[in-house]
């Protein structure tokens, strides 16, 4: 009864990733990709999260049996750090990177938590990159994704890899929603990727892509994204 040549339906997170990539590409960002099984160095140490630091407790990490130096990445910030390190070696600073990828957290699942989910991370490095630029870039992004009437505000936060650290909130349908963590790269991070923190400033941001999808389209449960159920592909 159905035409076999009918076009298939896309997964909503793929669609959202495409859209997000497009918005950032239009601002000069380059797409970055990296391994899902990441070294502890890029997942933690590069990002100024030393061993035995309480900050390593903030994320429940999957460690790998018989591969002590490896973890399932807990964020895609590691991808941005790798890309910037490479760009530095190639003499391609200033540069901006954006990465959407699967990340993993070892925690109990519920409607807003899943062991695997998609994160969107970005960074921009140059000589005078500032928190004002971060606000400009993210405001543009959320307007493109959620509508021109969206407002963005910053609230104080803490992450080991950013200083200052902020929590990004977006006002959507009259409500302030927590969207992502962000800030200016800690000088140790810039140093760890082989660049001079006295010369360069770098903005970083990252948060759940699933969360944007849930807000944008009203998807009620994050676990629906990973069940292989085609009833999800409605958009």
């Amino acid at each position: 009864m159905t035409d076999d040549k009918k076009t298939g339906t896309i997964h909503p997170l793929s669609l959202l990733a495409q859209e997000a990539y497009q918005v950032f590409a239009d601002m000069g960002f380059e797409i970055a990709t990296g391994p899902e099984l990441e070294s502890e160095w890029y997942n933690f140490d590069v990002l100024n999260v030393p061993k035995d630091h309480p900050a390593r407790d903030m994320q429940d990490t999957f460690v790998i049996k018989d591969q002590q130096e490896k973890v399932l990445r807990t964020h895609t910030t590691a991808v941005i750090a790798r890309a910037m390190e490479q760009a530095g070696k190639e003499g391609r600073i200033p540069a901006a990177f954006i990465s959407v990828g699967k990340v993993f957290r070892n925690e109990a699942t519920d409607f807003s938590h899943e062991m695997q989910f998609y994160q969107i991370d970005g960074g921009m490095i140059g000589e005078n990159i500032s928190l004002a630029n971060l606000k400009g870039v993210l405001t543009h992004f959320y307007k493109k994704m959620l509508g021109e009437d969206v407002e963005v505000e910053f609230r104080p936060s803490f992450f080991p890899f950013t200083e200052p650290s902020i929590e990004v909130f977006a006002k959507f349908n009259g409500k302030w929603l927590e969207m992502m963590g962000a800030g200016m790269a800690h000088p140790n991070v810039i140093k760890n990727i082989g660049l001079d923190p006295k010369k360069y400033q770098c903005l970083l941001f990252g948060g759940g892509l699933d969360r944007i999808a849930m807000i944008k389209w009203g998807v009620p449960d994050v676990r629906l994204f990973y069940q292989g159920d085609l009833r999800l592909n409605q958009i």
Binding site: T9, H11, A96, S130, M145, P164, Y226, G228
Partner: protein, 608 residues
């Protein structure tokens, strides 16, 4: 941590009302998780507000206490801070023979004081009220005094029964296999290097974590040793982790308290005990202080603050913030030299000062701007190939799914606690098979005869590899992305080189909404109708739709038509489903009968 608004008011009597305070905290300091009105048992007007504030890790060393938060708020709001020190009265102290030995470099300071002739009993009403307001339980006057000091100034303290301590206090690391029973009757066995407080013979407490039974204060205790100490944060954390013990004391020590806090804490603890034990005889404080922090100065430039924030804040405004925080500084041509207050361990770098100035002034002052930099982005080969593969598969009628990366067998094993699926997948095919099974059941609901799906994702064989898999119930093909991409004609006009299409606005898709599917089973029914050849299918569809009721989740969908003898047959499928119950065949039959009847009323129409 939970903070009592009335308690904070001791220090900052001019504080705005609790709701306003919560808003200020949210935008300038930390998230307020909840605000709860409670009865205040001692205040005559009877109300208090409890603020649950998620203090950020970089301020845990100075804000996990009422006086700490009050001091911050006084500076932030530029209001009066009432110093409680002059109110604390401790009787004149006599000589002491208390001996303290520090045998580890992980203890930065240990202050001890013997008090004799104390009387263990209930706490005064105000102490009980303060502790209960923030969810703590009153135990006795000595233990309560110790707890009150921690929640008031942030310094954990401990009280030992002097008569149960043999000879002296020793701060040392544990021997392998050493044992202790904690105050809450937990049997601990230590690893070499764990941090202990001991006497001449045995362990008395886990340093900075939890007291032990052997030195416990009880109803007949008359003489005590007060402990006000400071330990290396990593050492406390490791010891507590190895015993899996979480306490308020641990939380504070592992966030790196300043040893300078000890003086105030000892004064406060002594004064509180003096208040409930007027007969007590105080001995002098023994203060072993091997790691006294040096006074610390730092430099930062106004230009760096402005550059990081992207905000034109003047040196004068920066200076005004520093003054409010009682930080002494000099400013020479925009170069600030700052005497860092001993409790502000978080201020060390120029970037820290940018954050301090930014959050105090408020991040709303910063106006967003997209930088005008001529970036030279390169295309990403992997993403381009993923986009090619996806476009191609979609155009061939395959729908995209994502399935779990975790399996119960594989070649790379994760050490997981929350799941029984402890391996990473070695292929995509297994997941697709499950997905096809699931979707085949829902095929009528999806309007599909044959479920065709694909996934593009990572597998571990054990090396990490990006794969493409696609197929239906008959066959699934799986290969590396590289292999799949090499099959695609790269000159196809539909595939932009970078996988990107510039200049689109996606907010237009906003009104599109996701509809959660019903969790009850669906019923699919077909109806075929003969009508005169001149009647378009839309007209028949309309009649069916109008009479199908509100349980239709899909259709009526035309799936077949053919002509014969001047008539045409249209076949439609309708799928029924309820969001709140299981539908019965009987009620769907009623609906179908009603549709048939309506069709029968039309001239020349007949249900086949």
């Amino acid at each position: 941590m939970k903070y009592s608004y009335n308690w904070l008011k001791w220090y900052i009597p001019d504080a705005p009302e609790a709701e306003k305070l919560a808003e200020i905290l949210t935008y300038h300091l930390a998230e307020v998780e909840s605000l709860e009105k409670i009865l205040d048992k001692i205040a005559s007007k009877g109300e208090d507000t409890i603020l649950d504030i998620k203090i950020l890790p970089n301020r845990a060393h100075d804000l996990l206490s009422h006086s700490g938060l009050a001091r911050e708020l006084a500076a932030l709001l530029d209001i009066k801070f009432t110093d409680p020190t002059p109110n604390y009265k401790v009787p004149e102290s006599g000589p002491t023979d208390l001996k303290i030995e520090i045998k580890t470099d992980k203890c930065r300071r240990y202050m001890g004081r013997v008090i004799r002739n104390v009387k263990v009993g209930p706490s005064p009403a105000w102490v009980v009220a303060h502790l209960e307001a923030i969810g703590e339980r009153s135990i006795n006057n000595l233990v309560d005094a110790s707890n009150l000091v921690m929640f008031n100034c942030g310094q954990p303290t401990h009280v030992f029964d002097l008569k149960k301590v043999k000879e002296k206090i020793v701060v040392r690391q544990a021997e392998e296999g050493e044992e202790l029973t904690t105050l809450d009757n937990r049997q601990c066995k230590f690893k070499k290097g764990d941090m202990l407080i001991a006497d001449a013979e045995r362990a008395l407490a886990i340093a900075g974590v939890k007291g032990g039974k052997v030195g416990e204060v009880d109803d007949i205790t008359t003489d005590v040793i007060l402990e006000v100490a400071n330990f290396d944060p990593t050492a406390v954390r490791k010891t507590a982790q190895s015993q899996n013990i979480f306490t308020e004391a641990r939380k504070r020590f592992e966030n790196d308290l300043s040893p300078t806090l000890g003086d105030f804490a000892m004064l406060e603890l002594s004064a509180l005990i003096a208040e409930t034990c007027p007969e007590a005889k105080f001995e002098e404080i023994v203060d072993e202080y091997p790691a006294k922090p040096a006074e610390r100065a730092m430099e930062f430039s106004g230009d760096k603050v402005r550059s990081v924030l992207g905000l034109q804040v003047s040196d004068e405004e920066i200076g005004n913030v520093l003054k409010r925080y009682r930080m002494e500084y000099t400013n020479t041509d925009g170069k600030f030299t700052l005497q860092v207050p001993p409790l502000r361990l978080d201020l060390a770098l120029e970037e820290d000062m940018a954050e301090e100035i930014g959050r105090v002034l408020g991040y709303d002052k910063i106006k967003g701007s997209i930088p005008k930099v001529n970036f030279q982005p390169k295309p990403n080969d992997l993403y381009t190939k993923i986009t090619w593969a996806r476009s191609r598969l979609l155009s061939e009628g395959y729908s995209e799914v994502m399935t779990t990366s975790f399996k119960n067998k594989g070649k790379v094993s994760v050490l997981a606690s929350a799941s029984d699926k402890n391996y990473l997948r070695t292929d995509l095919t297994d997941g697709l098979k499950e997905s096809i099974k699931l979707n085949q059941v829902n095929a009528p609901l999806l309007g599909l005869d044959n479920v065709k799906i694909f996934e593009i994702g990572t597998v571990w064989t054990p090396a990490e590899e990006m794969r493409v898999a696609y197929g239906d119930k008959k066959e699934i093909k799986e290969m590396t992305l590289e292999e799949y991409a090499s099959q695609i004609e790269k000159n196809s006009a539909a595939l932009p080189a970078s996988g990107l299409r510039h200049g689109q606005n996606f907010s237009q898709s906003v009104p599109q909404k996701f509809t959660m599917w019903a969790l009850y089973p669906f019923i699919a029914r077909d109806v075929a109708v003969w009508v005169p050849e001149s009647v378009p299918s839309e007209e028949v569809k309309k009649v069916i739709k109008e009479n199908a009721g509100d349980m239709v989740v899909r259709g009526p969908e035309l799936f077949d038509e053919f002509k014969k003898d001047g008539k045409i047959s249209y076949a439609f499928r309708i799928v029924f489903q309820s969001y709140d119950r299981t539908l019965t065949d009987v009620e769907i039959n009623d609906i179908m009968n009603k549709i048939s009847a309506k069709i029968g009323e039309k001239d020349g129409w007949a249900v086949r």
